[in-house]
Structure formats: structure tokens, C-alpha cells
């Protein structure tokens, strides 16, 4: 057995309210491709951020090439020979491919200027070697998403690192490009480079990886050679937890459909149709990048749609902007509370009432007493824990922030509530309360659409589940037929492969 290039032992990391990593280990052998697997929120990204110095772990040790190290930032990691293909790190849009790849390492001419010719030559040599068909002089902003991702891969490889972390490197590229990337990975491995490969795509894991480490809920599950695993066994390891008694789901009687979306297409999803009934919780499952958020934001009118129709109570409605859908009784809780939902520096009262101020006007003035009364009602109904309605939202816990946002939309008295990852980043107790609230709302006759990456939550809460894969609706499951394995298979596109084979 070859020696380890990386040994991470006993890594723990806490964030306020969340134990993101709890005594996790990851040991990568030299010259191997090591898959790091787990559901969304299992702690993969956090662990990698601890490795390359974006986070400092609360405890644990990291050994790289046999030496204990403490990595302070990404540049430090790079200089030691650890590079990473960042998922979320976008390139510098108005600089060229060559300038992006060799940023910080530009070749100079003898008189001190950047040697553009040499820069482009090195880039085209690198890209040629990797079989990537992109011109070095092209600006990043002109590239497709797939090519942008390929350039990021080329950049990570160009550092000649001994360990490369690839975080979902194939999320945007085509089959042929994936095959090419896997060839590149094999040749890197043959040269003794080690790779940590993060993906949700099962077939890739079995195609390219030597060993697999599985994390679940921030804990280490185990490390196995790939030969010792099967698809089912791996999925079991990733999911493998009992459904807790968190979900107080009640069966709802079948009622009439309220919303009918027909053949809806937009950016990053195509031809999606589904119906939602009164009193129903309708789940939308899929991996990151499956187009779930884009679909529902487009239905809500945040992005333009390219084709398709929406019917409410059997009547065709045209939704062009969010104000249209609010008027028709839709409400949307966005995925990222801080970015597009809450005004962090405003008070609880203002956050709850902002979407509804028109109702509280007396002439040009806001009737604050009425506002306060309604907000107080919401606070009690949803049990928002805040010392006062005039507290700034910034000072509330994640769960209570989420409740404030839900209150805001409940005040608009919607018929259909779209919740995008409603329990992301909030603690277990608050999750249970959000679930209870969802059941109450459904019982009161509202329809709820929930996007969630947490399968137990989808299974525990939803009457019907739509599964999406790379912008397409793969299928729909009713509560009784749904299992974690089944959903994960559909979401990874596995049954597509078997169906076409």
C-alpha cells in the first residue's frame, strides 16, 4: 500500500448553532483518486475549506506529505502543492483565459513587462495538452459555463500540485468533456498526483475513483476501496439514517388542484409540467444544479420564462414579475435568507410588514399600531423568539429569522407558498417547528411547494415528490412509493442511463 499524501484526523468545526464537522478524518493515498461522498450538508465542503485554509478547524490535525501543517490561506495551500477547483469562485470576467489561468504567475520579458506572447503560448500548450478547445486570448465573459469550468480545471492543474481537490468539476460540462477530464485525471494519477474528487454522480465515482470516504451529518462514516462498494451500498452509507420523529406529517385528503404548470422552460430547465393541490405539500428534489431553484423562481416571475403556461384554478395567468404572482396569491421564500430575503439591519416588525405596507396606509402614513398588532399575532402564532418586535433581525437565530420571513409572506395571505430550502442552516429544534408550521398551513388549505436537498425532510413532509435532473423533470413519486434510494437514483440520472441502455 502506498503512503498517505494527506492525513486529516479528528477535524471538528462548529458554526453558531451547527456542528458542521465532528471528529472527521480523511486519509488520501499518494497517486490515487479519492472520492469524498455525502449528501448536501454532510460536511464535504466544510472539510475541504478546512484543508485549503478558508476555515480554521476548531480541533484536529492535518498532515501533508508526512509533515504536520497548519494552513492559513489558499495561497499558502497552493504554495505547498494543494490546489482546488472552486465551485463558487467565479473567474475574472473581463480578463482573458490566459490571464486568468496564470494570474499571479505571469511570465515577464527582460525589460519587465508581462510577456503576453509567452503567456498565451504557455496557455495554449496547457489547454492543448488537456484537450480543451478554448482560445487563450478569449475573455472569460465570452465563454460558456462549460468552458469556464474547463478553464478553472486547467488552472488548478497548472499549479503542478501534488494534491488537487475537485469540487463537482463536472457539474456544467458535457459527456465528452467528462470523458476527457477523466483521461486527464488518469494521467495525473499515473504521475503520482493525488485527487480528492467530490461529486454526486455515482457512475463517475465508480469510473474514476480508487477509494471512497463517506460523510454523513458532519460525521465520518467510513473509507472503503471502490471494489468493496456497490451503488446501493454506497447510497446506503450516504443516507443510512432512520427517519426521526421530527415530522408530524398528517395525511391530507385529496383536494382540487390550484396550480398547474405546463411545459415550462427557462434558463437551466426545460419543459417541466406539474400540478399542486390545495392542502398538499409538494416536494421538489434534485441535486445542486438540477434547476429546481431556477424553475420556481421563474414561475414566481423573478426570471423570464421562454415557453410554457401557468394555470391557477384552471384559469391561464401570465406572470412576468414577482408582483404579478404576489397578486395571484403566490409567495416565495428564497433559498438564501440573507441575500434576497431579509433586511438584516431592519427590525423584526419592519421585516414582517414590508411586503404588505400598502394595507396599513392611512393616507401617506403607516398605521404602526395596526402593523404592530399583526406582527404580534404572527410572533405568537409562529413562536418567534425575539425580545421585542423592534429587535434587529441580525440578532435572531437562523430558525427565528426564517420564521420572520415566513411571517412576512403569510401576511400577504398567499394560497401557494414556495419554500426554497426552508431549513437550511437552522438547528434541529427550529427545523421541527418549521415542519409543524408547514403541516398547519397545509391543513388550513394552503398549497406548499418545498425545494429541499435533504432527503429525509422531503420524504417526511411531502405528499408528492417531483425529482429533477439537469433541468429536466425525471419523474414524480407519491409518498407511499418514495424511498431515499429511489429519489437519489432518479436525481443522479441513474434510471435515465438504465432506461436508455
Amino acid at each position: 500500500m502506498s503512503e498517505h499524501v494527506l492525513r486529516m484526523q479528528g477535524i471538528s468545526k462548529r458554526f453558531p448553532g451547527v456542528h458542521a464537522l465532528d471528529q472527521v478524518q480523511l486519509n488520501v493515498r499518494k497517486g490515487t483518486v479519492h472520492a469524498l461522498m455525502g449528501e448536501n450538508g454532510a460536511g464535504k465542503s466544510t472539510l475541504m475549506k478546512c484543508l485549503i485554509g478558508i476555515y480554521a478547524p476548531d480541533s484536529g490535525t492535518i498532515e501533508f506529505n508526512g509533515q504536520p501543517v497548519s494552513i492559513v490561506n489558499t495561497h499558502h495551500a497552493l504554495s505547498m502543492g494543494i490546489s482546488m477547483i472552486h465551485q463558487e469562485l467565479s473567474p475574472i470576467p473581463h480578463m482573458t483565459v490566459a490571464e486568468n489561468i496564470f494570474l499571479g504567475r505571469e511570465p515577464l520579458t527582460w525589460y519587465g513587462l508581462v510577456d503576453m506572447r509567452e503567456l498565451n503560448r504557455r496557455t495554449s500548450e496547457l489547454l492543448g495538452r488537456l484537450g480543451i478547445a478554448v482560445a487563450p486570448e478569449k475573455k472569460m465573459v465570452e465563454l460558456s459555463i462549460a468552458n469556464t469550468q474547463l478553464v478553472e480545471i486547467a488552472k488548478a492543474i497548472s499549479y503542478d500540485s501534488s494534491l488537487i481537490v475537485m469540487d463537482e468539476p463536472t457539474s456544467a460540462i458535457t459527456e465528452a468533456e467528462v470523458a476527457n477530464l477523466h483521461n486527464i485525471i488518469r494521467s495525473l494519477r499515473a504521475r503520482g498526483v493525488s485527487i480528492i474528487y467530490i461529486t454526486h454522480k455515482m457512475d463517475e465515482v465508480f469510473n474514476i475513483c480508487d477509494e471512497v470516504t463517506v460523510l454523513r451529518d458532519g460525521r465520518y462514516v467510513g473509507t472503503n476501496p471502490i471494489q468493496a462498494l456497490s451503488h446501493d451500498l454506497l447510497i446506503q452509507k450516504m443516507v443510512g439514517r432512520e427517519l426521526t420523529a421530527m415530522f408530524h406529517k398528517e395525511e391530507t385528503p385529496v383536494a382540487e388542484p390550484i396550480l398547474y404548470v405546463r411545459n415550462y422552460s427557462g434558463k437551466r430547465f426545460r419543459g417541466v409540467s406539474f400540478q399542486v393541490r390545495r392542502g398538499e405539500i409538494f416536494g421538489v428534489a434534485g441535486l445542486m444544479g438540477a434547476g429546481r431553484t431556477e424553475l420556481l423562481e421563474t414561475i414566481f416571475g423573478v426570471h423570464p420564462h421562454t415557453s410554457g403556461e401557468i394555470y391557477l384554478h384552471g384559469k391561464r395567468v401570465e406572470i412576468r414579475r414577482p408582483s404579478d404572482s404576489i397578486r395571484h396569491g403566490l409567495a416565495l421564500l428564497t433559498e438564501d435568507r440573507k441575500l434576497s430575503g431579509l433586511y438584516m439591519n431592519a427590525t423584526v416588525r419592519d421585516n414582517i410588514s414590508i411586503a404588505n405596507l400598502l394595507r396599513y396606509l392611512a393616507g401617506p402614513f403607516v398605521r404602526f399600531r395596526k402593523v404592530a398588532a399583526d406582527c404580534e399575532r404572527m410572533r405568537q402564532a409562529l413562536r418567534i423568539k425575539t425580545p421585542s418586535l423592534l429587535q434587529k433581525v441580525r440578532n435572531l437565530s437562523g430558525g427565528n429569522q426564517q420564521k420572520v420571513l415566513i411571517s412576512r409572506w403569510l401576511l400577504t395571505e398567499p394560497e401557494i407558498l414556495i419554500l426554497d430550502e426552508p431549513t437550511r442552516g437552522i438547528d434541529v429544534g427550529a427545523k421541527a417547528e418549521i415542519y409543524r408550521l408547514m403541516v398547519d398551513l397545509a391543513r388550513s388549505g394552503k398549497a406548499i411547494i418545498m425545494i429541499s436537498s435533504e432527503l429525509p425532510e422531503i420524504l417526511g413532509m411531502c405528499d408528492r415528490i417531483m425529482v429533477m435532473h439537469e433541468g429536466d423533470k425525471v419523474g414524480e413519486l407519491v409518498r407511499a412509493d418514495a424511498t431515499q434510494e429511489r429519489i437519489l437514483q432518479m436525481a443522479t440520472g441513474l434510471n435515465l442511463a438504465t432506461a436508455s441502455a
Partner: protein
């Protein structure tokens, strides 16, 4: 290098189709791309044609030289401001730095019988020049340190300098102008070489140097990288703070140089000189395509054309007797129009 796997036939045929697709795409959009990239130059050309029809006096050598000489001071400021905006910042202090730099320079360039510092009377003009540029660079250095080390928004840091530098200039001369400057100093603003006025020569040299600096050196590349995506620049190992300090210092130095030119032009160092120049400099950069909304976009040729557009506009409106009040209104419209165009262009890019 040669240990990489040979490309499979599948991969290389894929590559060929990808390349031909790229090529087809390029010919189709070429015209549109050209117009969007060189739009500002087209507009400038159009303005010249219109101006020469409106007034026969426009296309005379004297008038053209006049236009360029008038815009040279704003042009110098705009060169530095462009770099600052490209890096994702802003510099509001340029006008006040002009005032501060010009009084310090003038105080070292007065005729011996009037000398501000009798002990230094008769020093070579180079001392005054270095002092003026030095004062500018110092003010810029402080701006840069504030932005890089304290993390306060550049708007606030340079707003502070805007007020403080003007105050310092007033304090230095107790509010009075410093006249009776030496002839060698006055050459900077009033002289000519081969019948080209010195201010124009200074602008040409500095524009060339700055263009090379921004487009061909590491420093320049990093300014664009920091403005385009500061986080990406940081993880690539670029010392972001250092380059921010450098670009503010360079912009300050150019403001100091503009101060030398303007005081020498009128033969007097006045602490009140340069009021509003920072906004003209920003306007020239923005009209020339530097993006205030997204960093990492902007060029020196664009900025020079931007400054020329303002110059030609003022000149033409003067020639056809449009009132100064209308001129301001029109100028305002053009600045806003340029930014609207810029937003469109950048939206089209996505």
C-alpha cells in the same frame, strides 16, 4: 508533459467541432462586437464631423491645439482615476490634491526676491516639480493606506482627503495665491516644444506611460484582476492591499502633476485651484468606457477619448454661442447617457 494520455479520436473530433462552432459564432457577432467595443470612438468621430459643420472655426490648427491643451489637465487626472476605478475604487480627492500640490510647487518656484523660502531661492525647477508630484503621491498614499488597511469604502477615504487636502492648501499659504513664479516653472504650462504646447506633450507622454503600465505590466494586470474579482485575485496569491495602495499613490501623483500644469499655466499657485476637477476626471473615464458599476473594465485610450469628447463638446458649444448654463446641462446628459450605454453593453456580455 508527455506523460499525458494521447487524445482519443472522440475527443479530438469533439474539439474540431467546438472550434468551428466558435469561429462561426465569431463572424456572426463581429460587427456588433466591434460597435460595442469601439462605440465611443465612433461617437467621437461623429462629434468632430458635426462640429466642423456647425462652425468653420472648429477644424483649425489653433482651435484643435486649444481644445487639447484645455483638456490636458483633466486628462492627466483621468489617467489616474481610470486605474483607481478599474481596481474597484473611486478617487474624489483629485481636485483638492491639485490645489495642495500646486501651492507647494509654486512656493519653491517663486522669483528670488519674492521667495516663500528665502533659503531655497533659486533652486532648480526640478525641485518644485518633484515637490508637486511628491505632495500628490503622498496624498494618494494616504488614500491607499486608508482603503487597504482600514477597509473603509474608497468613497469615504477619498472624501476625507477631498476636504483635508483643500484645508492643507489653504493653511500652507494662509489662503493667499503665490505668484511671481520663475520663467522656467512657467514653461510647464505656457511653453511649447516644436510649436506643440508643453501641457499637451506632458499628457501624451503620461498617457503612453500609463497605457503601458495598465495594459502590459504585472501591476496593471493585478489592478484589473482586483477590480474584476478581488477574491479570485487574493486566492491567486496577489497582495491585494499593496496594489491598491500603489494605484491610489499613482493617481495622486498624476493629480500633483496636473496641479503643476494648471498653476504654471496661470503663473500662480492658488490653494483654490482644481475645484471640481475630480468629477471631470471621473466623467472622462466613465464616458471613455470605464465601468463604475463593475470593476476591471476601462482603458487609457478610452479615457483619453472620453476627455477629448468633453473638450470638443465644450469647445463646439462655445463656438456656436451656447450659454454656459446649457453647456452644463448637456454635459450632464452625456455623462448619464454614457453610463446607460455602458450598462447595456455589460448586460449584453452575459
Amino acid at each position: 508533459m508527455n506523460s499525458t494520455a494521447p487524445p482519443t479520436t472522440k475527443a479530438s473530433s469533439f474539439r474540431a467541432t467546438a472550434i468551428s462552432a466558435v469561429a462561426r459564432h465569431a463572424t456572426g457577432d463581429k460587427l456588433r462586437a466591434l460597435i460595442s467595443q469601439y462605440g465611443i470612438f465612433l461617437i467621437f468621430g461623429l462629434m468632430i464631423i458635426v462640429a466642423s459643420f456647425l462652425s468653420p472655426a472648429f477644424l483649425t490648427t489653433t482651435n484643435i491645439v486649444n481644445v487639447i491643451r484645455q483638456m490636458s489637465i483633466i486628462g492627466l487626472i483621468a489617467l489616474g482615476v481610470t486605474g483607481v476605478i478599474v481596481s474597484g475604487g473611486i478617487d474624489l480627492s483629485s481636485g483638492s490634491v491639485v490645489g495642495a500640490a500646486c501651492v507647494v510647487a509654486a512656493s519653491l518656484a517663486q522669483l528670488p526676491d519674492r521667495a516663500f523660502y528665502p533659503a531655497l531661492a533659486g533652486s532648480p525647477v526640478l525641485v518644485a516639480v518633484l515637490a508637486g508630484c511628491g505632495v500628490g503621491a503622498l496624498a494618494g498614499l494616504v488614500n491607499g493606506l486608508l482603503v487597504a488597511k482600514t477597509g473603509i469604502p474608497p468613497f469615504i477615504a477619498t472624501l476625507g482627503m477631498y476636504t483635508a487636502a483643500r484645508g492643507a492648501a489653504m493653511l500652507y499659504t494662509t489662503g493667499r495665491p503665490l505668484s511671481h513664479l520663475s520663467d522656467s516653472y512657467n514653461v510647464i504650462g505656457q511653453g511649447a516644444f516644436l510649436s506643440v504646447p508643453v501641457p499637451i506633450l506632458i499628457l501624451i507622454v503620461m498617457a503612453f506611460v500609463t497605457h503601458i503600465l495598465y495594459s502590459r505590466t504585472k501591476f496593471g494586470k493585478y489592478i484589473y484582476a482586483i477590480g474584476g474579482n478581488e477574491q479570485a485575485a487574493r486566492v491567486s496569491g496577489i497582495n491585494v492591499g499593496r496594489y491598491k495602495i500603489l494605484i491610489y499613490t499613482y493617481a495622486g501623483m498624476l493629480s500633483g502633476l496636473a496641479g503643476l500644469v494648471v498653476s504654471s499655466r496661470i503663473g500662480s499657485g492658488q490653494p483654490g485651484l482644481g475645484v471640481g476637477y475630480e468629477l471631470d476626471g471621473i466623467a472622462a473615464a466613465v464616458i471613455g468606457g470605464t465601468s463604475l458599476s463593475a470593476g476591471g473594465i476601462g482603458t487609457i485610450p478610452g479615457t483619453i477619448v472620453g476627455a477629448l469628447i468633453i473638450g470638443v463638446l465644450n469647445n463646439t458649444l462655445d463656438l456656436v454661442n451656447v450659454s454656459a448654463y446649457w453647456q452644463q446641462i448637456i454635459k450632464g446628459g452625456i455623462i448619464v447617457g454614457a453610463v446607460v450605454l455602458d450598462q447595456r453593453k455589460n448586460r449584453g456580455d452575459r
